[in-house]
Amino acid sequence: MEKLFANVRAFFLLCLFLGLSHVALLSSMGPRFGEAMPQVVKGDGALAVAFGDARETISQAFVHKADSYFHGGIDMECDHLAEHGNAAHDDDHDHEDCHDEHDRGEAMQGAFDPWHWINSHVRAPDVHRHLGGGETIELMPWFWASVKADPHNIDAWSTTWYIANNMMKDKDLALRVVTEGLEKNPDDPELLICRGRTIYDNGRGEFAAAREAFSAAVAAAGRMLQRGGSPDERILKARDFAQAYLDDLEKKASMEHGSGGR
């Protein structure tokens, strides 16, 4: 009996020792490695926990898939969608630099290759085409999957907004997209610009709301730039873009005042 008590006592002492040393170790590692090993999972939900930073890669893969859909299921080296997705981008670009796989394949072939011949004819023809108008709804599921995988993929959010706003001409959908994007990324200057542009282009005369969004974008960009480090070119561009819209709005407002006064 005495032996049993001795064993139990030894067991409790061992547990106490291990517990205390565990606490001591954690408290000493926290300040030392807190910065080096942040134990924080970005985002929320099961995806964030399961995939961690791999979500960014998965998200990009979905964007790539959407780009392929935009070209009729063909993988092309074409920045059309990506460039337009940048909120601080003003339209038109030509496609002289766009190349598809067919071009590469043809360029690589020397002697006649019957397998290549069959492949190139079974697959989609050698035509560079883009989805347009209402057809672009087909891209939405892939962008939706992309932002679900990584809610901080601003490119994906802004490209989705561009498709809804400029291609589908569905301003309500565009506002829904950008509102959801801002919920996940509050104060992101590019998304604020997207919001401002939709409201500004709406033709509903909601200039006050548009001004509010552009001002918020300028302020958010300023805060980001103040954080130090080398200034991000995209943030600088976004700030200038938002400021240009604000100046335009001021000009319009002063013209309205002027015409009203006369």
Binding site: Y69, G72, G73, I74, R104, G105, M108, Q109, D113, P114, W115, H116, I118, N119, H121, V122, R123, A124, P125, G134, I137, E138, L139, M140, P141, W142, F143, W144, A145, T160, A164, D170, L173, R176, V177, E180
Partner: protein, 259 residues
């Protein structure tokens, strides 16, 4: 000839019964439904009307399931007969090994085709239920898919006579799926390799079964239209020649096998 037809009919019937009794197809259909129903109910950002992603997913499942069925059916043609020794009464009847091989192969292909036809009926039904239309490219896509299944069964049949079941299924799936996704890019990959490795890759490109020839999903999903008749004939001729050579090899292996 009449006798051969009767023997083949008996073997085809046997393959049908075996495949549909196993309930593999129904399990696959349930799996497909479990994946497709939630997908079809999704409305990304509250926007309705996108359908191509559903078509693509459904076709990918049809391809995956058909490959699963084809490889399994091809694999089960001879090894169980050897293990249970039922090959002896089969060969004791006035039937040659070559005839048995061809008969069993035709039976397996017919059974796999019936499963594929069932999957396509479900696919077309799902398209029509979503308010879609019957694509003009669909008959061509189905014909090429049928040819692919015939090729996959032959590859699996040859493998079943050479290696164990698990090795055969793994290797056949690796080759067919690998060629399906990367086959057309092999010459590109060979460009950057050292000469010896490049030769290996080019040899694989020359002789491996080009399953990507039969894949018309891109045309079907994105509405690129049908392929030229000449191309269709070329692909079917490729499939026929490939199957002929593989079955010939399987015949040689079976004839040399000590039963």
């Amino acid at each position: 000839m009449k006798l051969f037809a009767r023997q083949v009919c008996a073997l085809v019937k046997l393959s049908f019964v075996e495949l549909w009794r196993r309930n593999d197809i129904f399990a696959l259909v349930l799996l497909g439904l479990a994946l497709m129903v939630p997908l079809s109910m999704a409305t990304p950002f509250g926007a309705e009307g996108a359908s191509r992603y559903l078509d693509e997913m459904a076709l990918l499942l049809v391809w995956g399931f058909s490959l699963f069925i084809a490889l399994g059916t091809g694999q089960r043609l001879f090894p169980p007969e050897f293990e249970s020794r039922t090959i002896y009464p089969l060969l004791a009847k006035p039937i040659s090994r070559g005839r048995l091989l061809v008969g069993k192969y035709i039976g397996a292909v017919a059974a796999s085709w019936s499963a594929l036809a069932f999957f396509y009926v479900l696919f077309v039904a799902s398209v029509l239920l979503r308010g879609g239309t019957f694509a003009a490219e669909l008959p061509q896509a189905i014909v090429l898919h049928f040819a692919f299944v015939a090729l996959a069964v032959s590859v699996s049949l040859l493998g079943s006579l050479l290696v164990s079941a698990s090795a055969n299924l793994t290797l056949s799936a690796l080759v067919l799926v690998g060629m399906f996704f990367f086959g057309r890019r092999l010459p590109e990959y060979a460009e950057g390799l050292n000469p010896a490795l490049a030769w290996v890759v080019k040899t694989v490109y020359a002789i491996a079964p080009h399953s990507e020839f039969f894949d018309m999903r891109q045309r079907l999903v994105h509405g690129w239209g049908a392929v030229d008749g000449g191309v269709l004939v070329a692909v079917l001729a490729y499939a026929m020649w490939y199957v002929f050579v593989v079955i010939l090899l399987a015949d040689v292996v079976l004839n040399r096998k000590r039963v």
